[in-house]
């Protein structure tokens, strides 16, 4: 049995934060239906590859990677018929995931109360920058904005230098929220037989980013200095990156036992940088490992990809069609997680979902087509 067997999720998530949350739910066995409007598709579809083989204009590799395991439904929630169809699906689903700007769902008549009226036990997961309320609820952010306003940037940087960000290629807060939001949805699902009623999960990415620096708030609140320390960190006597003779950065952490081993080997702790600079990376790593010191090269993405056998096992996976996709942050032993379907094309499963889940008739579906509330039967090129 999968953790979310029997759970149906309507996924309004876009780009990373919302869509990746729903992807985790799909990994755990939920049926995830990705809902996109004919007039506003997930922008991730357009993050195209440079490689001609990946040139499908509606299925960028980033979109494929984040939306595998889901079916695809086209529905314009701003259209009265689209809204009504969505609420009908809500009545036959368990979870709705969204990360629109605050106010977008209520403006469409799809506030939590509207969803609860359609399904008294619905779980709505609202993932937002700052939370549902408060003076900054309308604040617009991308991942690195949150690092700044949540206190993480203050502690990231070279000693004495400016605060630094994870940047556009990582957008760290957008990645971690998928882990937390999915686990809170699992928590609400696990509790469903014991409670009476619907649940609205109000998930602030800014608060999550602060929560992951919890001890710095404890220290700062006690009046202790909290500042940027570069790579050094208690309890290590020395922790940093040093460049080898062949130009690779070697990351190492020297605890007390490591310092003793270095001393016995005739290498002074304060001269370690110079010592590494005189050795090729392979030789330096071999020697440091021989002394029992954790040391590894600071790999770039390409090296990480190539290190799949030794460093990681299931973080990235292949879809059934062979496409590279996000894998899993954890794995079950008896019934392993697996990717069982590709990311959906635009509205790929619209009619099937409306019939099976919404129990809609052909006439009702035709009315949606005629109103333009779902993608035309033959989808054209992406709207800009």
């Amino acid at each position: 049995m999968k953790p979310l067997s029997g759970c149906r999720v309507l996924d309004l998530g876009i780009i990373t934060a919302g869509a990746a949350t729903s992807a985790v739910l799909a990994d755990f066995g939920a049926e995830v239906i990705k809902v996109e409007s004919p007039s506003y598709r997930d922008p991730f579809r357009r993050w195209l590859s440079d490689k001609p083989a990946d040139a499908d204009p509606t299925l960028s590799p980033f979109f494929r990677a984040t939306n595998r395991g889901k079916s695809g439904l086209s529905l314009n929630l701003k259209h009265p018929l689209g809204r009504a169809a969505f609420l009908r699906l809500v009545g036959r689903s368990d979870v709705v995931v969204e990360n629109f700007r605050r106010g977008v769902l209520p403006k469409m008549g799809l506030a939590f109360e509207d969803l609860r009226a359609a399904n008294p036990s619905i779980i709505l997961a609202s993932i937002s920058s700052q939370g549902e309320d408060g003076p900054d609820a309308g604040y617009v952010s991308y991942g690195s904005t949150l690092e700044a306003v949540a206190g993480l940037a203050w502690t990231t940087g070279y000693a004495g230098g400016p605060p630094m960000l994870s940047g556009v290629d990582l957008n760290y807060p957008d990645q971690i929220v998928a882990l937390f939001a999915s686990s809170m949805i699992l928590t609400a699902w696990s509790d469903r037989q014991r409670r009476d009623g619907a649940v609205h999960l109000d998930l602030s990415q800014r608060e999550l980013t602060s929560f992951l620096s919890g001890e710095t708030f404890v220290a700062a609140g006690a009046g202790l200095a909290v500042d940027r320390e570069g790579n050094s960190q208690s309890p290590y006597l020395l922790q940093d990156c040093f460049r080898s003779a062949d130009g690779l950065w070697i990351a190492l952490s020297v605890a007390e036992a490591g310092a003793v081993a270095l001393e016995q080997a005739g290498i002074a702790l304060e001269a370690l940088s110079e010592w590494i600079g005189r050795h090729d990376a392979a030789a330096a790593l071999d020697r440091l490992h021989g002394l029992g010191i954790p040391a590894e090269p600071a790999m770039d993405g390409r090296a990480v990809m190539a290190a799949g056998d030794t460093v990681w096992t299931h973080a990235l996976e292949r879809t059934p069609g062979g496409h590279l996709a996000k894998g899993f942050p954890l794995q079950f032993e008896t019934e392993p997680l697996a990717i069982t379907r590709e990311a959906p094309g635009i509205g790929a499963d619209t009619e099937e979902v409306l019939r099976r889940v919404g129990e809609m008739t052909d006439a009702e579906i035709d009315a949606l087509y005629e109103a333009g509330a779902i993608e035309p039967r033959t989808s054209g090129p992406l709207k800009e």
């Binding site: 049995m1 490689k51 991308y142 937390f180 999960l201 608060e207 590894e296 079950f332």
Partner: protein
Amino acid sequence: MRDKAPLEGITIIEWVSDGCSDAVGLAIAFAGRIAADLGATVLQIDAPVVRARAAQPPLVGDRSALSLFLDRGKQRLASLPALEDGVIVLYLGDAANVPLADRKGRESVIVATDRASPPAIPDSEFTLLAIGGLLDLVGNPDQQPLRLGGHQMAYSAGLAIYGGLVAEICRRRAGAAPDSVRVAIADVVVWLNWKSAAMGSWSNRVPTRLGDGAEWRTIRCADGWIALVYLEADWPKLKAIVQDPRLEDARYEDRLVRRGEATTINAIVEQAFAAKTRAELRVIALAHRIPLGPVWTPAELEQDPQYVARGFLPRIPDGDGGATLQPRLPVLWNGARFGAAPAMETQS
């Protein structure tokens, strides 16, 4: 406030071996803290890594800030207790201890490791960042790669451990037999860093740290720094805020050109923001709906209007007559926070 927390009736046992790594110990403690906040009974079995963490600077009184944050709401025991039948029990531990927990074949185990196949020399949290590609992304290109502040990878792994734990609770509450879940911190790091790991397969660009030349970076303002963050749709807004004719250069309408000349553009924006405070820039960001991020210190955030309004960062009694500044669990459940767990209880 809810009258029944969702994990009430669940027992979590944090049980790590004497040889448990610091990173695994932190990850397990972080997952346990979340479970405690959600109403689980969390029993932390004493171990060297637990004691070392409690003594690790910085200290607040006689306890570490780490322990005050991570171990809140747990009971510390010297050894495994006898457990009642009929209670759902989950063990969180490292590879050496947790197999022992499954002694009765009726308990779920969540096993955390540094990486799936441990190398001969143990990893540190820092070296896990290195092999996961995260170090390479932060810092200046002419300086050493840089870690993110705090214990981001251990705590991210803690999120994954909590996810595995609650996934297993879903199964158990549905009547399924116990299973084992494995979380390797290295896999979590690469999972977070999936874009740069996969980018080489989709593009000729391999992301790396660009420092001052990055599109997104922090720049100076009157009383500190602000994160300059913007996407394509924000560019006209940024120009409108900055009002510098140099940004009207038609070439800058092309993002690739802006990327290549980020250092020049950032310097122009920095000049414009030099006389503005972070508070003023926050108001501007709100008014223009542009994702600028004032860099607040952890101490300043205690008075942050948003955090105050949402009750996120209060001072919570520590059981000794004092109170510590502590972030609450970052979720509102039907508008209510889960009750702040009490400080740790120690039992023999």
